[in-house]
Amino acid sequence: MHRDLLIAPMVVLFGLGSVGAAVGENPIKIGVPVGLSGANSVVAPSVVQSAELAVEEINKAGGVLGRNLALEVADDGSGAAGAQKAFDSLVFQKKVDVLISMETSAARNAGLPIVQRGKTPFIYTSFYEGRSCNPYMYVNAWVPEQQVPPIVDQFMAANNAKSFFLIGSDYAFGRGMLQFTRAYIEKKGGKVVGEEYLPMDGTDWTPIISKLRASGADALITSTAGGAPNVTLTKQLRAAGVTMPYGNLAVDEGTAKSMGGDAAGIFISASYVTSIDAPANVKFLAAMKAKFGGELKTPNDLSVPEYEAVYAYKAAVEKAGSTKVDGVIKSLADVTVDGPRGAIKMNKERHAPLTMYLGQVEADGSVKVIKAFKDVDPGDQCPNLK
């Protein structure tokens, strides 16, 4: 029940936003199934804010083909069961024209069959472990092929690292990322001297840290679940005096900031950091600040793709000349969006080449960009889809 209570005011809000819609026509509905409760609840509000700003800007500028955009937000509970309900209600009851959202892999996998049945275009805006393919889905966030190489290359070149130790949380994303990391390190001639996992609710990393110290590895790369496990591991590593180069595949800028001293020196790799000094990003940040003021959730690598995906959908509809599914699906691969992350086109097997930023957390918690890698290719994600 409380979920409906949560959503009701939002729907009302967005409904009000679309009062005064152009020429009496129904608005184009964008469904946003997102984890307002559960594991993603920390990041979900920033994703919704991104979508709200994009819709507001587009409507102010005259909408899409003369029609306004309207958001339908639904809580997917960050998991499979909630996602089934959320997708079901968005696709079949609200009859949205498109789904644009950042979700957990479990929620995405549960939603895809419904997307397929409802023949609804779906732009997935969360980075993920890769190789999820569906004729109705596009992805504008990174996959391991784009995120991991900058860190490994940096450690090999700048720190002369040859042996690596990998630590992760025992779940699909954690294992998927490290599996790719291991393959990439070995391809580049490095050696993986240890690969250890702890269950997602595990709290004591002591034995793993002892193994890490005994292994004599040159560098450490971790991929834990976000939030608590990541923090626990980092704290215990620091308490144990581990000072080797440390790349964290799962820490976002916000968490790094709040970790302060313990996070100092950690290397991160992302397609978005707030310090990108392109005019589009400066404008985006200013608009977010103006719209949300004190309520603003810091824009991040999970929320900015949502903003850009709304624009990508607008461009695709305009190119296709209507919201008809086949035309939109075809056009999504052809349109380029100039957003805070730069010019992005989802033309590589439903995925997008992205500029990746290698950053290092400073002592005061801010992230310093060390290097930018222009248009990193996502590799062969869905060779069977055009």
Binding site: S41, L198, S210, G227, A228
Partner: protein, 277 residues
């Protein structure tokens, strides 16, 4: 050598975390399932000291006092009518735990936060460098264990508590105010739980659900240990040691299950666990 240090310090952490639960279970014969939420409360006490900018050492007394104060209210309002109905007490304290977590979420937000650690860095010991804080935590656990063992063995309150444990009706007949003994015991148990929460913050994240994974291990250890501090120390050392050894030589994933599995086996073979009878 670092394996030995891992074993004893892990046992120290487990002992600290389970102690409050043992105090309540030993004397009151109820399982306080709000124990996990009380750990969380203590961790937020540490967070408050960080936010106020006062010494991180003050987190420990602050946690103990706030846990004890909450224990006072809870015993009066919720637990007191339920001593004769241990199953209902489990449900009530479980629900209480959820309420405490939600109130913490309302006050402090859902996100992971950071409390300052009173100690950091490493120290050279036994030909190895090791985390200063883990060693300090071991010392604190041992000291707390000795202190409360002395309290039980050497003071009037301890004598009364032991009398209540052995035969409550007789104790009451002898003029012992059993209600007061129970109240004090429950408060001490809650205070110790919150103190343990503050003690583990330098090793753990601070978020509204951080206590839950600790609760399960603490529960298992107390089931195995029965009612005495000595057997809890023994249980922490053996089961915690087994966890470290399995994690180190087999897999940390199996290591995470070791305490629960071993506890089940121990209770199957010897229902009294490590206790005397």
């Amino acid at each position: 050598m670092s394996l030995l240090l891992d074993v004893v310090t892990t046992a120290g952490v487990l002992f600290a975390v389970a102690m409050g639960l043992l105090v309540v279970f030993g004397v009151l014969k109820i399982i306080n399932f709000a124990h996990g939420a009380l750990l969380t409360l203590g961790a937020y006490a540490a967070l408050v000291t960080t936010k106020l900018g006062i010494s991180a050492w003050l987190a420990w007394p602050l946690a103990f006092v706030s846990g004890g104060a909450l224990g006072l209210v809870v015993e009066r309002l919720i637990v007191r009518p339920l001593y004769a109905r241990p199953l209902d007490a489990i449900l009530a304290t479980w629900g209480l735990g959820i309420v405490i977590s939600q109130v913490i979420t309302l006050c402090f937000g859902r996100e992971v936060q950071f409390a300052r650690s009173p100690l950091s860095g490493t120290i050279a010991i036994l030909g190895d460098t090791y985390s200063v804080y883990r060693l300090a935590l071991l010392g604190v656990s041992v000291a707390l264990g000795l202190l409360f063992a002395a309290l039980i063995e050497g003071t009037r309150l301890g004598l009364s508590a032991r009398a209540v444990i052995m035969n409550e009706d007789l104790a009451r007949g002898l003029g012992i105010d059993t209600q007061r003994v129970r109240l004090l015991t429950f408060m001490i148990g809650c205070g110790l739980a919150a103190l343990a929460g503050a003690l583990i913050t330098p090793l753990s994240s601070v978020d509204p659900n951080m206590g839950v994974p600790w609760l399960i291990n603490a529960f298992m250890l107390v089931m195995v240990a029965g009612a005495s501090f000595l057997s809890l120390a023994l249980a922490s050392l053996i089961l915690g040691g087994a966890q470290v050894i399995v994690s180190t030589f087999v897999s940390p994933i199996l290591g995470g299950m070791t305490i629960v599995l071993l506890a089940a086996v121990v209770l199957r073979l010897r229902p009294a666990g490590f206790g005397r009878d």
